[in-house]
């Protein structure tokens, strides 16, 4: 049985390599090399529409380390999930990334139906207040249209939107729009809804509740008051270490701090997604069915 699977794998690799010219010859005796090479090619095909070689840092070195190219690919979608819409730090993470995405004179678009963002804090986090556009769409159709239009604009560096319901067609529309505009789309979603739906996001983070007392030995009492800690789980990432768990903190000056302990406990051994998952894979159906 194993021999059969091995043969099928080598035939698939042969077909694939014949279809796509490769810059280097493959040694079929080394499956790891084949897998890596195939992974690169699949990713290359998937991200053909995006600007090449441009990555946007998340603003946090610890997060960048678990992302494939040291940051988010330009023209990609990122989802930040929080359980039950709890304020676990998704807005802060999104704004920190937006600061990096808007560095080259680009604009930040905030889509929030009741505009609750507090502008003095946006300024304090280093965001350019004169380049922030707030949008207040009234209906669900308007929200979809507004996200799509904003992502398509080349002047927009980052779009942050709170949206829960998202079908696969709309999600694909957002993905194409982000690729066309070359900016970054960050969707803040409720985890209970988002986990049961397919996602076209390139990177999906889940924020877990984390309070300082759980690891009080690692922090001084002063840190506990002046630094907020976040725990993030990388649920999905093309070429990244899915399942990686990152604990980071932001101090009172707005700088990111790494957790001074061993991080990513099981991320190194987790499976690596070579290609985007299908819109409605069997795993998702199984999860949805419970």
């Amino acid at each position: 049985m194993l021999a059969l699977a091995d043969r099928a794998f080598r035939i698939a690799a042969l077909i694939f390599t014949s279809a796509v010219p490769m810059s280097q010859t493959l040694d079929f005796s080394k499956p790891l090399q084949i897998v890596q090479s195939l992974g690169l090619q699949i990713r290359d095909m998937e991200t053909r529409a995006r600007p090449r070689g441009i990555t946007i840092s998340s603003g946090c070195p610890a997060i960048d380390r678990v992302l494939p190219d040291g940051g988010y690919a330009s023209g990609s979608l990122v989802e930040l999930l929080a359980n039950g819409g709890q304020p676990l730090g998704s807005t802060t993470m999104a704004l920190s990334t937006a600061r990096q995405a808007c560095e080259a004179g680009k604009y930040l678009v905030l889509i929030d139906t009741p505009t609750q963002y507090y502008p003095p804090v946006l300024q304090r986090l280093g965001l350019p207040v004169d380049r922030i556009v707030g949008l207040r769409p009234k209906t669900y159709e308007d929200i979809i249209w507004v996200i799509d239009q904003s992502l398509r604009s080349s002047a927009v560096g980052c779009v942050i939107a709170s949206i829960d319901r998202l079908n696969d067609r709309t999600a694909r529309r957002f993905q194409l729009a982000a690729e066309a505009g070359g900016g970054l789309g960050i969707l803040l979603r409720d985890a209970t809804i988002a986990k049961s739906e397919p996602s076209w996001a390139d990177v999906q983070w889940s924020l877990a509740p984390y309070s300082c007392h759980r690891s009080s030995s690692q922090h001084s009492e002063m840190d506990a008051y002046s630094t907020r800690w976040f725990e993030m789980i990388l649920r999905r990432c093309h070429g990244g270490r899915s399942g990686a768990r990152v604990r980071v903190g932001m101090n009172a000056s707005g700088e990111w701090i790494d957790m001074p302990s061993k991080e990513v406990p099981y991320g190194k051994t987790s499976h690596v997604h070579l290609a985007a998952e299908l819109a409605k894979s069997t795993r998702i159906r199984r999860e949805a069915a419970g």
Partner: protein
């Protein structure tokens, strides 16, 4: 012609509330039903000294005893059922400009009244409430001035607005007659309108307030003009008070004073207004309509029900206008397109159904008006066409079916020099994206409405909810100057907040002293258990109880004595066991806990 919209802010609030909460048609039509349409409305504003005070109120509220400049706190006992709305002068003027642009069906030259630096005597608010219209040579088209005025009054009445109209040779005379000839009657009509007792039939509208000063009956009219009070001259309050002290109440008494002594005794303003009133000095008014080269008007050979035909003509007109703008080196900031409609005589259904929303007298001057504001000046015809096409294709535009388009007039009402040059050496990056973001903002504003596409502004106020504001992007210039109000009224902005360094907000050394999301207004915090020192120990947020791990505070924030009801709040940052951080306060006056923000 001067058209006065008495108590314009409250009339606008009345119409807005009527649209938000429409009455059933059978109830509205039932003349026996005495049910009021919207009830009393009170508009308040924040006074730097006296706190929240009444800016204006509608007739029903006034009957209950509410008057302008009264503290808002007194209104609750006088009229508990009143709807309290914050006074928004910017929106008032925007609505008045839109109304004036639409009123160009009567005359191509329309404008708003220009204000002085000081508020006029007899007015409680320093904002325009009148529309000027040049009707020279137009009255024969309407079979006389009486008929013209009736149509104007009917046109406003269809929009649920009460106006008074006066036609005179001088602007001063028209303004005085419109504002001061029908005060009592207008108050009654406004009250009837608010009570839903106004009948929109033509017979009733003929009795509407209108006066024309013509040469034929000059002697008789001079007497009525001279009996007007001195406030009709549009003079400031100190001058009026001085004249009243001298016993001068009306224009007849004032005109008997020696002319030479007026400037030395009352300042140059009074003599200028007097000369303007009697026609000894010309008084220009600033029109909202464009210069002739930025205005294209066209009548179709045949009326058409197809929007595509209108769009193709619109494309041609925009190309022409943009080429003219290009020659001037300007770009459009506001474009108004007026599509004249006529009712299709061949449509059988139109004969069977009667359209009650239209007055029979004005059916022949139906029109759909498309209005577009732009973020930065643009002379790109395709971009402007794209914005107008969105409005043209919306259901609000009535072309097709019963209504056929018979003419098209496009004009650029506000233009500004194109900004080609960069302001500084290091502005290259932002310049690169300027045109692209302008197109995006214009598109978003057309679909969402200009009030829903906003930019943040940091203000100088210690109270968190007053530390910022979101302002519409397309209603303002890039330098923070407002487009409509400031340009049209010629007043400079008081303060340029954009160029100021923020003085309020989180300090540099503490980013966690303010939340990322702020609830406005604050919501009550569900405290399950208090600690021994009176602080929350267990809090229910969002849906489950959680222990309070630690708290930081208090930070006492108090509002100034000049900002109305004193606010005394002790703010705490509360960290819950489930990892949630809350920003809440103990209201020292209400003795309750409120959640004001979350650190998301």
């Amino acid at each position: 012609m001067c058209i006065w919209l008495p108590n314009w802010p409250s009339q606008r609030a009345f119409v807005a509330k009527l649209q938000a909460d429409p009455q059933p048609a059978d109830l509205a039509k039932d003349s026996d039903q005495k049910k009021e349409l919207v009830g009393p409305i009170v508009l308040y504003r924040r006074d730097p000294r006296r706190g929240n005070i009444v800016a204006t109120a509608n007739q029903m509220a006034r009957q209950a005893g509410i008057l302008p400049q009264m503290p808002l706190s007194q209104c609750g006992s006088l009229c508990p059922s009143a709807t309290v709305v914050e006074h928004d002068p910017q929106s008032d003027i925007e609505a008045l400009v839109q109304l004036a642009e639409s009123a160009q069906c009567f005359s191509p030259i329309v404008g708003l009244e220009s204000l002085d630096t000081q508020i006029w005597a007899g007015r409680s608010l320093h904002e325009p409430q009148s529309i000027y219209m040049d009707v020279t040579g137009i009255s024969p088209l309407f079979d006389g001035e009486d008929r013209l005025a009736t149509e104007v009054i009917c046109w406003f009445r269809q929009r649920k607005l009460i106006v008074t109209v006066a036609i005179a040779n001088q602007i001063g005379q028209a303004w005085a007659m419109a504002n001061y000839s029908f005060r009592t009657k207008v108050a009654q009509t406004l009250l009837q309108m608010e009570l839903g007792q106004c009948n929109d039939s033509e017979e009733n509208t003929i009795e509407q307030p209108f006066v024309a000063i013509n040469d034929e009956a000059m002697e008789q009219q001079t007497r009525s003009i001279l009996s007007l009070p001195i406030e009709a001259l549009r003079i400031d309050l100190p001058t009026t008070a001085k004249l009243h002290r001298l016993g001068i109440r009306n224009l007849a008494q004032l005109s008997e004073l020696p002319r030479a002594s007026l400037p030395s005794r009352f300042g140059p303003g009074l003599l200028r207004r007097l000369d303007q009133f009697f026609g000894r000095e010309e008084e220009p008014f600033q029109t909202i309509c464009s210069t002739p080269e930025l205005h294209v008007n066209e009548s179709f050979e045949y009326a058409t029900p197809n929007r595509e035909d209108v769009l193709s003509r619109l494309q041609l007109q925009l190309r022409l206008l943009c080429s003219r703008l290009d020659t001037l080196g300007h770009g459009a900031l506001r474009v108004v397109c007026r599509i004249s409609l006529e009712k299709n005589a061949l449509d059988v259904s139109s004969l069977l159904t009667t359209d009650t929303s239209l007055d029979p007298s004005s059916r022949h001057r139906l029109a759909s008006v498309l209005q577009v504001g732009l973020y930065i000046p643009s002379n790109d015809p395709e971009h402007v066409e794209c914005l107008l096409r969105t409005q043209l294709e919306s259901p609000a535009c009535k072309i097709g079916g019963m209504y056929w388009a018979k003419g098209l007039a496009t004009q650029i009402t506000i233009s500004a020099p194109m900004v080609w040059q960069q302001n500084s050496l290091f502005e290259v990056e932002s310049l690169k994206h300027r045109d692209s973001i302008a197109k995006l903002i214009d598109n978003l504003s057309v679909r969402l409405g200009r009030e829903n596409v906003v930019a943040p502004t940091i203000l100088n106020n210690p109270l968190p909810e007053l530390t910022y504001s979101w302002r519409p992007l397309t209603g303002w210039r890039k330098d923070g100057q407002q487009q409509e109000i400031k340009r049209k009224l010629g007043r400079a902005p008081k303060r340029d907040y954009q160029s100021e360094e923020p003085v309020i907000g989180p300090k540099k050394e503490d980013v966690w002293s303010r939340p990322t999301r702020l609830f406005s207004p604050p919501i009550a915090l569900n405290v399950t258990e208090f600690s021994k020192i009176g602080l929350p120990a267990i809090v229910r947020y969002p849906r489950a109880n959680s222990n309070v791990l630690r708290w930081t505070g208090p930070e006492r924030l108090e509002s100034g004595w000049w900002q109305g009801t004193t606010q005394q709040r002790d703010y705490y940052r509360i960290e819950l066991e489930n990892g949630v951080w809350l920003w809440c306060f103990l209201d020292q006056r209400k003795k309750g806990w409120f959640l004001h923000g979350i650190f998301d």
